[in-house]
């Protein structure tokens, strides 16, 4: 059974094709890595999945329900961390966490406190004073404090320091161990390597490859058989491949 299933999804903004016939599946209990350069269409895919944008053609289904029509029902069982966290300048971090959690379910106080402590967030400060990293922590705490079946995380660690990034990996592993499914878009290879069961690569609106990370690396190997050892290298190889194909 797929938690999340995208079939031939196309999204156009006017003449610009942001997503072109995208196909993706996330299985139950799987952490799926979604990687690709900036502007490739990762965030657009996620916004279609969340019912914020409507698909031009094709289908996006979560828990077997339509991402656009059944958005409210679906959202009861998912947690989401956006890549660009925008918060209300005159609410405190603590208030926003409570608001975000309660718009889905009853909040679990112990879990909330444990996460606030772990991520070293001062929840009494107004959001206007938070740095990008702190705003991301607010969204992460709200997501991890929720009891969801599917977690959609859009570059959630781009503003965090390495230690906080480590805590993030821990929390995702916890989710994985308790059988939750995760869609993780990321730029950090080590994160993807440690967390993801399978990976999809998107370039210029096309998902050009899905498989395990090892499979991906192999298919992007150099002529001498050396595997790419960084995300940059992997991207560069795929860039060349996609340039030739598209």
């Amino acid at each position: 059974m797929f938690m999340l299933e995208i079939n031939n999804l196309t999204k156009k903004f006017g003449k610009f094709t942001a997503l072109n016939n995208v196909n993706l599946q996330v299985k139950e209990g799987e952490v799926f890595g979604y990687i690709g350069p900036n502007g490739a269409g990762k965030t657009t895919t996620i916004r279609v999945l969340l019912g914020i944008l409507q698909a031009t053609s094709g289908t996006a289904r979560i828990f077997g329900m339509d991402a656009w029509k059944d958005a409210v029902e679906i959202h009861k069982r998912i947690a989401y961390v956006p890549g660009d966290v925008n918060l209300w300048p005159n609410l405190t971090g603590g208030e926003v966490i409570d608001l975000f959690v309660s718009l889905r379910q009853k909040s679990d106080k112990a879990k909330r406190e444990r996460l606030i402590e772990k991520f070293e967030l001062d929840p009494t400060k107004k959001c206007r004073t938070y740095s990008k990293g702190n705003r991301q922590k607010v969204a992460l705490i709200a997501a991890f404090a929720s009891d969801a079946d599917l977690y959609i995380l859009d570059e959630p660690t781009s503003g965090l320091d390495p230690l906080m990034g480590e805590f993030f990996v821990e929390e995702v592993l916890n989710l994985k161990n308790s059988g939750k499914s995760v869609l993780l878009s990321s730029h950090i290879l080590s994160e993807v390597e440690r967390l993801c069961d399978r990976v999809g690569v998107i370039m210029k609106g096309n998902v050009i490859k899905t498989g395990t990370l090892d499979e991906l690396k192999e298919s992007a190997a150099c002529a001498d058989g050396r595997l790419p050892d960084s995300m940059e290298e992997l991207f560069m190889r795929y860039y060349k491949v996609s340039e030739q194909e598209v």
Partner: protein, 555 residues
Amino acid sequence: MRGNFDYSGKLVRFMLRRERIIAAIWIIVLVLFTVALAPGLETMFPDNETRENISLIYDNPIMVSMMGPVYDIDGEYTTGTIYAGMMLLWVMIAVAVMNIFIIIRHTRADEERWRAEVIRSLPVGRLANINAAMLTALIINVILALLTGLGLALTGIESMDFAGSMLYGAVLGASGLVFAAITAVFCQLSASSSGAFGLSFLALGGSYMLRAAGDVGNEVISLISPLGLAQRSMVYAENELMPLWGLLAIAVAFTALAYKLSSMRDLGQGFIPARIGRREAKKSLLSPFGLSLRLLKNSMIVWIICMFMLGVSYGSIIGEIDRFVGDSPAYLTLVGLTPELLDTLSESDKADMIVDGFGGFVTVMMTLIALVPLLMFAMKPKNEEADGRAEGVLSRSVSRPRYLAGYVIITFIMSIIVQLCTAAGLYGMAASNETNPFVFGKMLIAYLSYLPAMWLVVGLAVFIVGVFPKVSGVIWGYYGFICFMMLIGNIPDLLPAWVANLSPFNFIPEIRVTSFDLFPAPAASFTPLIIMTAIAALLVTTGFIGYRKRDLITH
């Protein structure tokens, strides 16, 4: 310390570039307003006799506390002295607001968004940014002062000579600079732009209140207030220069203080420690409706108080209004009466009729002002969406209609609250006079009868948010059109009827607010009100449907 001000000049040019459109609009509107009203005043008070009426206003301490003193030349008022007495204070307040915005935009707001950091990383002096902001304000105020002075001098009104007009402009610019400098100090004290806004507006309100207290009591108190001090230049009467020097000295002193404080603090920090906020949310916040209420709450309170106070101020002059305006033709046109009609009436009926006309005029004015917060509230979900915050709520288990409904419901409730508060303030104050011309029931009906028209405009805003969010500026254009139509609406045959009928305010039945019933008003037809309410409902419904169907605005 060498180099503290390095590159101020380049930054000034950069700031002026960012300011050019907004500042140009401010200057054009203020100068046009200033210059256009002078001839009107001349027609309203054509001779000494009518000008004597002005003293009646100034016998009333409430009026003096609202408007400040008006000065005479050897016991006689001129158009110039009346103009300075009625206008200077209000225009100074507008100019102060402009300056508060300029300074905060270029100092604290830029710091808050970490734009100042980028500038500071360039080889610019530590004080260059605040110095450039003050210089930018200086340049804008000087332009405003010159244009205002020249504009007034060019009206050719005898009692408004060149020296007096230039002094008027200079005092205006100088008082603007004082508030720029005071704001610059607050931008050092508070670590947030909203905090700096709050303190600056508090200072402006405080200056107004101080001079109100001083003008009716001990004049020395008025001199502490920049606004009161500025009025003491007795423009077009004595043309005193000392207040002008005083204002400039205050501006320089506050500027120096702001520089000193700025050099003592770190970028992004303030001297007032940020208050510790709530660790956990109150229950009342935890719903889409609760969130929108929380976001609009402060604004609601401020607007309700403002509308009530405006009602009170108009209520306080209502007892004098017939003696004050008398049968000035300009006023009669404004309220839609003719001298011929008045000639057929007895003195007391005439007085009643004038008050009634004035009451009707005030109702329209107040309703137009009340529409400003309503439109702001109705457009709020669009701004939340554009700033990426709506996504945070809608990616949770909240449907689009439920999210939008929070703002729409609050806006409609607010429309009823403001109309009731204005009517209450107006009636309450008028009732404290010896003679109260108003009938409460009638007044209430008059104010509530504007609700359908207000709803129609709000409905249009909801429609735009739901269906055409990218052209949301249209709603303010429509609002401007309605205001314009109210100003020129009573001039017969100026515009074809269909143009006038584009304004919903054109369909409000005339409702008397006093006991005057000599001529029954044309039988009030309430059908248009029902139709307008229906149109409003249709617009809101379409807006909701559109909002459910479209993509959210994303970047």
